[in-house]
Amino acid sequence: MSQCVVEIENLVKRYGDKVAVDHFSLNVNEGEILGLLGPNGSGKTTTINCLLSLLQYDKGTVTIFDKEMKPEAYDIKSQIGVVMQNVAVIDTLNVYENVDFFCGLYIRDKATRKQYVEEALEFTGLTEYKKYKPKKLSGGLLRRLNIACGIAHKPKLIIFDEPTVAVDPQSRNAILEGIKKMNKDGATIIYTSHYMEEVEELCSRVVIMDHGKNIANGTTSELKSSLMNRETIRVNLPNKNDEVIKGLKEINHVYKVKEDGDDLVIKCDGGDHNLVHVLSYLTDNNIPFGHVSTELPTLNDVFLEITGKELRD
């Protein structure tokens, strides 16, 4: 059994009357990429700040590498890398100096540091920009610099807080590949994002937070299978009318029929062979139809289903 790198138990953080993190527990095992998901204001960043001992929490314990995490736990901190949501670099230093400076906070040996910095630049594809000041970099390059500053010291645990916000697909792809490679090289990763396809592609396990609570936890397939009994059938039906819609609604397990241009979208709630039942109804009643498809739930559906669809702050 793999070792538990991060262990959060019953974490509670209040801001006055508002409970930001509500008895939240989480385990991160060695070598895994854990996706931490949640709508805006769900408590993800607060949890990460508590995890990093940047914030004092009201209750609970945070253990990293089997030791209690405290502000002065320098031995733990030296093994953690953080990639902030906002770009955290020094504007007046160039790319190389920035990476060297932040890496130097962890690595004292000059030769090792030089090697690590070069590797980090290479890894993020910034070698040719090392003399550039941050202001001269494009959004994607800046994000990559932000990552280089966070990972240059080769940490064992890396926390990525939405690292791909406002990044083009090419850069995003490069970042995701990089994260996979770091994971392959042995780093344990906590990854927060609002991009579900990224999480699906990257994370071996996902925790969904809302209102400060851990409301779902499992691999992506486990989470999706919890919605497996929901099926959506899309039928191209140029001659549809109210009677047809009414007829379809009467089929067992069909709970919603919605028009979408020439198509009808039929939502089924459980049951077997729903597609066969729909098609039989159409052929039995001589209703001509075109293209037919069925859709299974995505992680996005899971997320919306669990957290609800109302707008957040």
């Binding site: 940047l54 004092q56 030296s78 902030m84 955290a88 020094i90 007046t92 230093l93 130097g104 962890y106």
Partner: protein, 381 residues
């Protein structure tokens, strides 16, 4: 580790064009402007006594004693300028025309026994011209009174009148720097206190509740206080160099003597930089609002500089005569006072007192800040 953070913090500061602008360029520009504005006043104070151009009209057509007295006043005395520069006119009208065309300030008309003084306006010149007549009359009266009461002493009295005994002695303080140099001292104080802004900027980059960079710092296994100390040292070096540049510029390029050896002034201004930097650290450890971190050091600097005489050179002494305690706690006034005392009186007890107070301020600010920052292990995000 300390050295590396120091080097990087120093790089960070000197590459920040706003800091270089405000802390390096602005004092030099202001020093140049002060030089242009006050340069002449430093060389020749307008309050200094200047020979009065006076006219004289004698309608008696015979040589008078008063005229002799006036002529005596035309001579320079032990290094001092002559009191009067006399121009004689034939008629009252000619003298009046000369006065109206600014050829002379005013004039005397001697008619019979009467001596009339005519001036265009009141002021020191008018009073001095009038005083000369009074003095002449006075001595006449003294001699007449003695002649009447003690005729046997009249010769001795006459001798004494002409002897002109010096009863008044000026207290000599040695080095007499112009009060206008005070503006340059206040300028150096302002520049030193501007470094409080550098300190808050450094703290901003180190504390997690202020910037994302700060978060990165606090996540690293580096001691926060050591990092802050390295930052403070970088700020100190930057500000001390900036102050030294201003001092050398004023003394060597603008050729305005600051009244003390260069090394001594630079040492004092270095202490001033330490005061500015440490007060900035204290401000930074007390305030958490990002906007206030710029506004408060600026207001602090400008208020302290104003009361130390940056805009009105008399204000520091005015406060000294009314609420002296304020001058003892205003860092800008302390620095100005230290420089001024050194320049004017040398290394007096006041000079050492200023140095000790400033040193205590530096230590006090740093201890309180360290206490506040140490207590603030967790930040409020």
């Amino acid at each position: 580790m300390f050295g590396r953070i120091f080097v990087y913090k120093f790089k960070e500061i000197i590459r920040n064009r706003y800091m270089v602008g405000w802390n390096f360029l602005f004092p030099i520009v202001l020093a140049t402007v002060f030089y242009m504005g006050f340069g002449n006043l430093i060389k020749d104070d307008p309050d200094n006594f200047h020979t009065i151009e006076a006219g004289y009209v004698n309608t008696n057509q015979e040589e008078s004693n008063f005229e002799k007295v006036l002529e005596e006043l035309e001579e320079e005395t032990d290094g001092n300028v002559a009191i009067l520069s006399l121009k004689k006119y034939d008629s009252r009208q000619a003298a009046m025309d000369a006065m109206n065309s600014d050829e002379v300030f005013g004039f005397y008309v001697e008619d019979g026994d009467e001596i009339e003084t005519i001036v265009p306006k009141n002021g020191y010149h008018a009073t001095i011209m009038n005083q000369i007549v009074r003095e002449y009359d006075n001595k006449k009266n003294v001699v007449e009174t003695i002649a009447k009461d003690h005729p046997e002493k009249i010769q001795a009295a006459m001798d004494m009148v002409t002897d002109n005994i010096t009863i008044m002695k000026e207290h000599d303080f040695g080095n007499n720097t112009s009060p206008y140099v005070q503006y340059f001292f206040a300028l150096i104080a302002m520049s030193s206190l501007f470094s409080s802004w550098i300190s808050t900027a450094i703290l901003e980059g180190i504390c997690a509740n202020m910037t994302e960079r700060g978060k990165r710092f606090e996540c690293s296994p580096t001691s926060k206080l050591m990092t802050i100390l390295a930052g403070i040292c970088a700020a100190m070096v930057m500000q001390s160099v900036s102050n030294a540049v201003v001092v050398i510029y004023v003394q060597e390029i603008l050729k305005i003597s600051l009244g003390a050896p260069l090394w001594n002034i630079i040492l004092i201004t270095t202490l001033g930089s330490a005061v500015g930097v440490s007060s900035g650290v204290l401000i930074g450890s007390l305030i958490k609002n990002e906007k206030l971190l710029i506004v408060v050091p600026l207001c602090f600097t400008m208020t302290c500089s104003f009361f130390s005489g940056l805009m009105w050179h008399q204000i520091r002494q005015y406060i000294e005569s009314r609420v002296p305690i304020f001058n003892r706690i205003n860092p800008a006034s302390l620095l100005v006072d230290c420089l001024y005392t050194r320049a004017t009186y040398g290394k007096t007890s006041m000079y050492y007192q200023d140095i000790i107070t400033m040193s205590c301020m530096v230590i006090g600010c740093l201890i309180i800040s360290a206490f506040l920052l140490r207590r603030r292990k967790y930040v409020s995000l």
